[in-house]
């Protein structure tokens, strides 16, 4: 139930997946909003602080998820998956997990290099120290660009990932999506007993 089985994701993996997916995609939207609200500096300031708080949360969860993923065996690819498909899926999953850590990290670098020196006070609760980077307008602009391109690029990758999952689920009917929705469905359907 909690841990992955050979055919299904465990509840921990499923919760990590959807929590981080919602946070990460929400952050792309929120990040975009910070760029189009220059006409309302107060709103823009507040959106930036939410973006930073949620970004740190995303990064912490993504690091925990990475530890969990490395400690647990991944379910095997669904039957009738070609070798190429398996490699593509594995590469996509690894890249997305890496991006959920690295994109927030580049945002942290933006805050750390900005001459504005606005403290990172996550959720007005946790004072996050800045990374030991040199502050300059140029460094801030560079990290901002890296942050934005990686974020939007990851958004495209997440879209492809979701499209592939939907294709498997509804065109091939192989249960790919279902096994990321419920920890027991696959095992029960296969007549096995749910892993506890």
């Amino acid at each position: 139930m909690w841990r992955n089985s050979p055919h299904s994701y465990g509840l921990i993996a499923i919760l990590f997946h959807w929590t981080i997916a919602i946070l990460f995609l929400g952050q792309i939207g929120l990040g975009y909003l910070t760029q189009i609200t220059t006409g309302d500096p107060r709103l823009q300031f507040d959106l930036y602080q939410w973006h930073k708080s949620l970004g740190f949360l995303t990064m912490v969860l993504a690091l925990l998820r990475l530890a969990w993923a490395l400690a647990a065996a991944k379910p095997r690819p669904v039957p009738r998956t070609s070798r190429l498909e398996a490699i593509a899926a594995s590469l996509t999953h690894s890249t997305l997990i890496a991006m959920t850590i690295f994109v927030p990290f580049t945002g942290w670098a933006v805050a750390s290099t900005s001459p504005l020196m606005i403290p990172s006070f996550a959720f007005n609760l946790v004072l996050v120290p800045d990374l030991p980077l040199r502050r300059s307008e140029a460094a801030e602009a560079l990290w901002s660009n890296i942050h934005a391109y990686l974020a939007y690029g990851s958004g495209v990758l997440a879209f492809l990932h979701a499209t592939a999952a939907l294709y498997h689920q509804f065109a091939r009917r192989d249960g790919t999506l279902t096994r990321m929705l419920s920890p027991v469905s696959q095992d029960v359907r296969r007549g096995g007993t749910p892993a506890h």
């Binding site: 309302d40 500096p41 107060r42 300031f45 507040d46 602080q49 001459p115 504005l116 020196m117 606005i118 403290p119 006070f121 007005n124 004072l127």
Partner: protein, 188 residues
């Protein structure tokens, strides 16, 4: 050595007496000279903060050294003239998020009462009008020196910004604005 000390002490005492004697001569109206400084500081979580100053202001004060309570002061500053050394911070402060300098081009303080706080200092109470809000605020003024007929006062005070609709950024940035002013008065 002892003699030198003695002479130095005599000079100091003499200067002190001269100061006391001449205080009544200082009675009169003064304009606040552009050479004055109006600086402020807003602390931030984790230490440090935003330091800035206003470069455009005007005002006048009336000094009654023998009866301090009859003294008064009025000062108006232009929030658009804020300087912090970082243009993005300045633009933010001028914007609707903080001063809304376009709609409210001036911030004014008018004293309503002055009472002595010590031999060379006074508590100044008055009304501060900023961003369309008028509230009572208190500042502490102390004599900082004179040069010819010009006179200088250091004025410090703490003002909460949230009542003036300028609470953006709290609690990352403190709600308290520390003012530190060196007002140079020139007799009118």
């Amino acid at each position: 050595m002892f003699k030198t000390l003695l002479i130095a002490a005599a000079i100091l005492i003499g200067a002190g007496l001269a100061h006391a004697q001449s205080l009544s001569e200082l009675r009169g109206r003064y304009t606040i000279a552009p050479s004055s400084e109006i600086a402020f500081f807003v602390g931030q979580v984790g230490g440090g903060g935003i330091r800035g100053r206003f470069s455009r202001f005007s005002g006048a004060f009336e000094l009654h050294p023998d009866d301090i309570a009859r003294s008064n002061v009025t000062i108006t500053l232009e929030p658009a003239s804020v300087a912090t050394g970082e243009s993005r911070v300045e633009n933010f402060l001028r914007s609707k998020a903080v001063f809304d300098a376009a709609a409210h081009p001036s911030i004014t303080f008018r004293s309503t009462s002055v009472r002595p706080a010590g031999p060379n200092s006074a508590i100044i109470e008055g009304t501060l009008t900023a961003r369309g809000v008028t509230r009572r605020e208190t500042f502490h003024a102390s004599f900082a020196g004179r040069q010819g007929r010009d006179i200088a006062f250091r004025v410090v005070g703490e003002v909460f910004r949230s009542p003036y609709g300028m609470d953006v950024g709290t609690p990352i940035y403190s709600n308290i604005v520390h003012f530190d002013m060196m007002l140079q008065g020139q007799p009118i």
